[in-house]
C-alpha cells in the first residue's frame, strides 16, 4: 500500500483470513495428517506450495496475475489498434462494436490503451521490486551482520527515511527527474528499500546468533560466504512475503504518480494517468476513467489476495 502502512511484519499478524479460510485455522498439511499414508519428507517450499494451491481466493488472484502478465507480454498481438492511433472523427465515443471500450479525447481505442497499460503496471511492479531487493537486502544484511557503528549509522538513515512520508518523497524525486518509466524505477527504488532493509536486518540479527551459524563459523566458513550461504537463505521467507506485498505497492505508486501527471510520459498509456485525465470529464464521458479504474482495482485486489495466500502458506505461524 502506498500509505505508510505499519511495517509489513506487524501487519502480517493481523491480515484478513476469514475470506480464504472460514475456520480461522487451516487444516493441518495433508502429509502431516498421514491417515495411513506413508509420510513423505516435505520441504518448506513444497509444503507452502501445497497450502497455497488449496487457498481458492489466492489462486483466483494468481490466475488473474498470470493473465495480466500474458496481456502485458503479448500486448502487441492482443491490442486491436496501436495505442497511438487516433481517429479524429470519433472522439470520446461510448463503447460500441468497433470500439469495445469506446474512444478517448483523441479518438484512440480505449481497449488497446488499457492493454498496453497492463504492460506499464506489470513492468513497474516487478522491475521496481528487483531494484528494491537489490538495494535493501545488502544494506539490511550488512547492518544486521556487521553490527556496531555501521549498524547504528544505517539504522539512523533508515529511521529518518522512515519518518518521511514515502509518497511525498517519491513525488519530490519524480518532479526532479521528470516523468518517465526509468525515473519511476529510480524513485520507487530509492525510497522503497527501507522496509525490506529493516526486515533483512532483523532477520540476520536473529539468525546469526543461531548454533548452526556458530558451527559453520567454527568450520572456518568466511564471513561473506557465511552470510550468503547460511544466513540469507534462512531469512528468505519473510523477504518473499515482503516482495509479494511490495509489487502491488509499486503498481499503486506508479498509478498515483501518473494520476497527478508526474509518472509515465503521455503517449504511453498508463491506467493511473487514464483515470487522472478521465475523471475530469466523468460527468460526460464516464467510460474514460471507469474502465482503467476497474483495471487498477482488480489488479490491486488480485495481488493482495495472492500476497495474503503466500504469507499464510509460507508461515502458518503468522496467522
Amino acid at each position: 500500500m502506498a500509505f505508510s502502512t505499519p511495517e509489513s511484519g506487524t501487519e502480517a499478524v493481523a491480515g484478513p483470513r476469514a475470506l480464504a479460510d472460514p475456520d480461522g485455522m487451516r487444516a493441518p498439511s495433508p502429509v502431516a495428517l498421514g491417515s495411513g499414508v506413508a509420510v513423505r519428507s516435505s520441504s518448506l517450499w513444497s509444503d507452502a506450495y501445497r497450502r497455497l494451491i488449496r487457498n481458492r481466493l489466492a489462486m483466483a488472484g494468481g490466475v488473474i496475475i498470470v493473465l495480466l502478465c500474458l496481456i502485458a507480454i503479448f500486448a502487441d498481438v492482443l491490442a486491436p489498434l496501436p495505442y497511438t492511433k487516433t481517429n479524429f472523427g470519433r472522439l470520446n465515443e461510448l463503447p460500441s462494436r468497433t470500439y469495445p471500450l469506446g474512444t478517448d479525447a483523441l479518438g484512440r481505442d480505449l481497449l488497446s490503451r488499457m492493454i498496453y497499460g497492463a504492460r506499464v503496471s506489470m513492468l513497474v511492479g516487478l522491475g521496481a521490486q528487483l531494484i528494491i531487493v537489490a538495494i535493501g537486502v545488502p544494506i539490511g544484511a550488512l547492518s544486521g551482520y556487521v553490527g556496531g557503528r555501521v549498524d547504528v549509522f544505517l539504522t539512523r538513515v533508515i529511521d529518518v527515511m522512515y519518518a518521511f512520508p514515502r509518497l511525498l518523497f517519491v513525488i519530490l524525486i519524480m518532479s526532479m527527474l521528470g516523468a518517465g518509466l526509468m525515473n519511476i524505477f529510480i524513485a520507487i527504488g530509492l525510497t522503497g528499500w527501507v522496509g525490506i532493509a529493516r526486515q533483512t536486518r532483523a532477520q540476520v540479527m536473529t539468525i546469526k546468533e543461531k548454533e548452526f551459524v556458530d558451527a559453520a563459523r567454527g568450520l572456518g566458513v568466511r564471513s561473506f560466504r557465511l552470510l550468503r550461504r547460511h544466513i540469507l537463505p534462512n531469512a528468505l521467507t519473510p523477504l518473499v512475503v515482503a516482495v509479494t506485498f511490495g509489487i502491488p505497492e509499486a503498481i499503486f505508486t506508479e498509478a498515483a504518480l501518473s494520476f497527478i501527471g508526474v509518472g509515465i510520459n503521455p503517449p504511453t498509456p498508463s491506467w493511473g494517468q487514464m483515470v487522472g485525465e478521465g475523471q475530469q470529464f466523468i460527468r460526460s464521458y464516464w467510460h474514460l476513467c471507469v474502465f482503467p479504474a476497474i483495471a487498477i482495482a482488480v489488479t490491486m485486489l488480485s495481488f493482495t489476495f495472492f500476497g495474503d495466500g503466500v504469507r499464510d502458506a509460507l508461515d502458518p505461524k503468522m496467522k
Binding site: F164, L172, A255, A293, M300, L301
Partner: protein
C-alpha cells in the same frame, strides 16, 4: 518518562532538519528554474532581469547560505513569497488551505476510527458469520484499492446512479461526504483488520473467560473487558494512519476539488514553487512527527506495562 519525552522531542530536530535538507537539495538539483518563463516557448527574460530577480529572491547566494536563511526564517513561520502566486506569501496560502485539509483529514480520521472499530468488533464477535465477511471484504477493498480509484466508483454510485451528492466542490456540508468517505476507507480498513485480530485474541483470553464465568452479559464483557485490552495495539496504528490520510488527501482533494493544502502541493510541484514545496513538505513532516510522538506517549499511558 519525562526524560523519554525530552529525548524524543529533541530527536525531532535532526529529523526535521534532514527532511528540510533533502527537500532543499532535491529541489535545487531539479533542472529548470523558477525564473524560466511560465508560458511554453516564451522568450526567456533578459540576463539582467534574471540576475535582478535571482538577487531579489536570494537565489544568487551559495546553496548552503540559501539553506541557512531558509531555516532561519522558517523557524518563525516565514516561508517567503510563493513563486507562482507572486503577490501572496506562502504562509498566507498555507493559513488558508491548511485548515481545510486539517478539517477534511480530521473528519476522515474520526470516521475511520469509529467505522474501523465498529467493523472490527462486529467481525470478531460474529467470527465467520455474515458480519465478519462484510467487514473483512470492506477492509480488504479499502486497503488494497487506491483512493483515487475508490473516488471514481463512489462518484459513479452516489452522484450518477443515486444522485445524492455533487461530484466536487466545498460549499455545503453535503460536499464533505464523498471526500471524507473516500479518504477514510483505507485507514478504516487497516483499523478494522487490526481490531478484529486483536479482539479475537483477547476474546479467547482467560480474563474474558473469567468475566463470562462471573455471569456478566455479553455487552459488558465485550466493551469493558475485551475492547479495552484489544485497543492497545490498535493505538500504535494511528501514527502511520495520519500519514496515510495526509498523503491520501492530495488525490482526494484534487478529484473532489477541495481547496486544501494537498491540491496546492500538486499544483506547486509542476510550477516549481520552491518555497511552497518546502513549506508543504515541512508542514506535513512536523505534523506527522508530532502526531507520532503523541501516539507513542498515549500508548504508554494506555498500557501501564510499557516503561520508557
Amino acid at each position: 518518562m519525562f526524560q523519554y519525552i525530552v529525548s524524543r522531542a529533541l530527536w525531532l530536530v535532526p529529523t526535521l532538519l534532514a527532511m528540510a535538507l533533502v527537500t532543499f537539495l532535491v529541489m535545487h538539483a531539479t533542472p529548470g528554474s523558477p525564473l524560466d518563463p511560465i508560458a511554453e516557448g516564451a522568450n526567456p527574460l533578459s540576463p539582467e532581469a534574471q540576475k535582478a530577480l535571482a538577487a531579489y529572491y536570494g537565489l544568487d547566494k551559495p546553496l548552503w547560505q540559501q539553506f541557512a536563511i531558509f531555516i532561519g526564517k522558517a523557524v518563525h513561520g516565514d516561508f517567503g513569497y510563493s513563486f507562482v502566486y507572486k503577490t501572496r506569501t506562502v504562509a498566507e496560502i498555507l493559513r488558508e488551505t491548511f485548515p481545510v485539509s486539517l478539517f477534511l483529514g480530521s473528519m476522515a480520521l474520526v470516521l475511520a476510527v469509529v467505522g474501523g472499530l465498529t467493523l472490527g468488533i462486529l467481525a470478531a464477535v460474529h467470527q465467520n458469520r455474515g458480519w465478519d465477511y462484510v467487514s473483512v471484504s470492506l477492509a480488504t477493498v479499502g486497503v488494497a484499492v487506491p483512493n483515487f480509484v475508490l473516488a471514481v466508483f463512489l462518484i459513479i454510485l452516489f452522484s450518477f446512479i443515486l444522485p445524492l451528492f455533487r461530484t466536487g466542490g466545498w460549499d455545503s456540508p453535503s460536499d464533505w461526504v464523498l471526500p471524507t468517505v473516500t479518504l477514510a476507507l483505507a485507514p478504516m480498513g487497516i483499523i478494522a483488520r487490526f481490531t478484529r485480530a486483536s479482539m479475537l485474541e483477547v476474546i479467547r483470553a482467560d480474563y474474558t473467560l473469567t468475566a463470562r464465568a462471573k455471569g456478566l452479559s455479553e455487552m459488558p464483557v465485550i466493551f469493558k473487558h475485551a475492547l479495552k485490552n484489544a485497543l492497545i495495539p490498535v493505538v500504535t496504528l494511528l501514527g502511520p494512519l495520519f500519514a496515510a490520510v495526509g498523503t491520501g488527501s492530495f488525490f482526494v482533494e484534487s478529484i473532489f476539488r477541495v481547496p486544501g493544502m494537498g491540491r496546492f502541493f500538486v499544483l506547486s510541484m509542476t510550477g516549481r514553487d520552491y518555497p511552497m514545496i518546502m513549506a508543504v513538505v515541512l508542514t506535513y513532516g512536523v505534523f506527522l512527527a508530532i502526531m507520532n510522538l503523541v501516539v507513542d506517549l498515549t500508548y504508554g499511558f494506555l498500557d501501564p506495562r510499557i516503561r520508557y
